[in-house]
Amino acid sequence: MAELADVSMATRARTRRPWSRIVGRAVVHVVLSAGGLAMIFPFLWMLSTSFQSAGALLVPPPQLIPSPIELGNYAEIASAFPLWRFLVNSLGVAAVATVLQVTTSAMAAYAFARLRFRGRDALFLLYIATLMVPLQVTILPLFVEMRFLGLVDSYPALVLPSIASAFGTFLLRQAFLGLPRDLEEAAFMDGAGHVTVFRRIVLPLALPAVATLAVFSFVASWNSFLWPLIIVNSPDLMTLPVGLSNLQGRYATAWNLLMAGSTVAVIPILVVYIVGQKYVIRGVTLSGLKG
């Protein structure tokens, strides 16, 4: 009875001033919408600029809807720079890095979560410790190493440092530890080995975590800048971010061309974000790493 009374009083307290609540909500909505617009608008402006002619950009007032619509910017930038090559490089590097990272992380995670071996906990601690080492510390020796291997300015150099992911191993180990073991034990009874159990039972059951890692790896690789900037020099090997920053050196203020290049760089990640939003947000917030 006491609980019931509490609830009804709480409801009354909340509905006491309906008008001020409605006004308050409206204000919050307006402010949030303005903020949301501020987040979206620069993207629209980029898109709009990419269809402007060079002359129109210099004549005020700025126009959101270009007139005339200039379709040639994309062709122009693609003929002056291997823009499509950048795109293919970025897609290729991100895809390969994602597949490798998910595979190696899942396998290591299975070992840490399910197998027993000497030194397991110490080894896991080593994985965690590498999470604290920032890229700027390892990047110089890594460059020297690639130089020693004769891999400076090559595709392998772009991918090699992202074969393994300590974060991914950690994430998937947590997920595997949370899975019920009944199915696995039944499979072992039936004579299945660890490889089968890993592929047929553990991986499918942990699919949400695997998807989170996959989407996160893809976004991180797609956006990575410092390492590709340092290790690659030939335009043919550049990823989109590096290629774009080079474009900027050449077309310092040709904003219609630069925004056309930027639009090309945004579209793939936009697709991944919209399709896998749940996983993107989870991956980025769990790792604390940003694009």
Binding site: R25, V28, P62, L123, Q136, L140, P241, S262
Partner: protein, 293 residues
């Protein structure tokens, strides 16, 4: 269960661990250890390295450019952190009111977070273009003569800060929103029954229970942003007149433009130690203000 001894079992363990352990040793742990060695040589990558002991660190202490870069980095973080923390908090609080369209707002605010820094930096260079940019045009409409933004040494760092805060607001918001949504509704109901007003509820329920999320996002943001690089490289390249040089940019410039690998390595190691210390101090201080449970 499958037997846990014998060479077969060991082979299975190796099969699962090696594909990630070997690359991790080769490309993370190895370079980490090598960085210490690298910081004790003078080496331009062309001639053989020359051992100089701790000379690089001694030189670092007297390097005015490095000192400036440290000061700029601190200035950047001091401008950036309050903006994203307060901004992210306000948006999270607003979104936490069971609003209709929550998903749409969250999508919009998080979009810049997943966008490549190079794209964001170019977008903002265009918006802030001192001549034809939209921002100065709008300022002109209300009678304000817009500044030279990234072309003006006094406004270059604020330009970088504005773009960075815009990009990361959604990141802070998502983490704080998750924190807010994990606060049990009963606490608020009980407080309302006791006659607590909005502010009291915020001050005595929301804020204390949000401190773990605030702590997490503060630690992460500080570590990430002391290493600010991408946006600076694309927006200003450290200029104009060296007004926006930052630590990681100095590491890259010294290593690859000036050919001073050893010296740059000493910078990166010193900086790493400072980052660790800052994080350690934050963990120490958390007892004073973070409420768990």
């Amino acid at each position: 269960m499958v037997g846990q001894r014998g060479w077969q079992y060991r082979a299975v363990v190796l099969l699962f661990i090696a594909p990630s352990l070997v690359p991790l040793l080769l490309f993370t742990v190895g370079p980490m250890v090598a960085a210490a060695g690298l910081s004790t040589v003078r080496w331009n990558l062309l001639r053989p390295p020359e051992f100089v002991g701790l000379d690089n660190y001694v030189r670092l202490a007297a390097d005015a450019n490095f000192r400036d870069a440290v000061l700029h980095t601190v200035a950047y973080v001091s401008g950036y952190l309050p903006l994203v923390m307060v901004g992210g908090m306000l948006i999270a609080l607003a979104l936490n009111q069971r609003l209709r369209g929550l998903a749409i707002f969250r999508t919009a605010y998080f979009l810049p977070v997943v966008t490549s820094w190079v794209v964001v930096a170019l977008m903002w260079r265009w918006l802030l273009d001192p001549g034809a940019g939209l921002v100065n045009y709008l300022l002109g409409l209300v009678g304000v003569d817009g500044p030279g933004w990234y072309n003006d040494p006094a406004w270059a760092m604020p330009s970088v800060i504005i773009a960075s805060a815009w990009k990361d607001l959604g990141f802070v918001m998502v983490i704080l929103l998750a924190g807010l949504q994990s606060i049990p509704e009963e606490y608020y109901e009980a407080a309302s029954v006791d006659g607590a007003g909005r502010w009291t509820r915020f001050r005595h329920i929301t804020l204390p229970l949000l401190t773990p999320s605030l702590f997490f996002v503060l630690v992460i943001s500080l570590i990430n942003n002391l290493q600010v690089f991408d946006q600076v490289w694309v927006m200003t390249k450290g200029g104009p007149a060296g007004a926006t040089t930052v630590v990681v940019e100095q590491i890259v410039t010294n290593a690859f433009s000036y050919g001073q690998m050893g010296y740059a390595a000493s910078m990166s190691l010193l900086f790493f130690v400072v980052l660790l210390l800052i994080t350690l101090v934050q963990f120490r201080l958390q007892r004073r203000w973070v409420t768990y449970g």
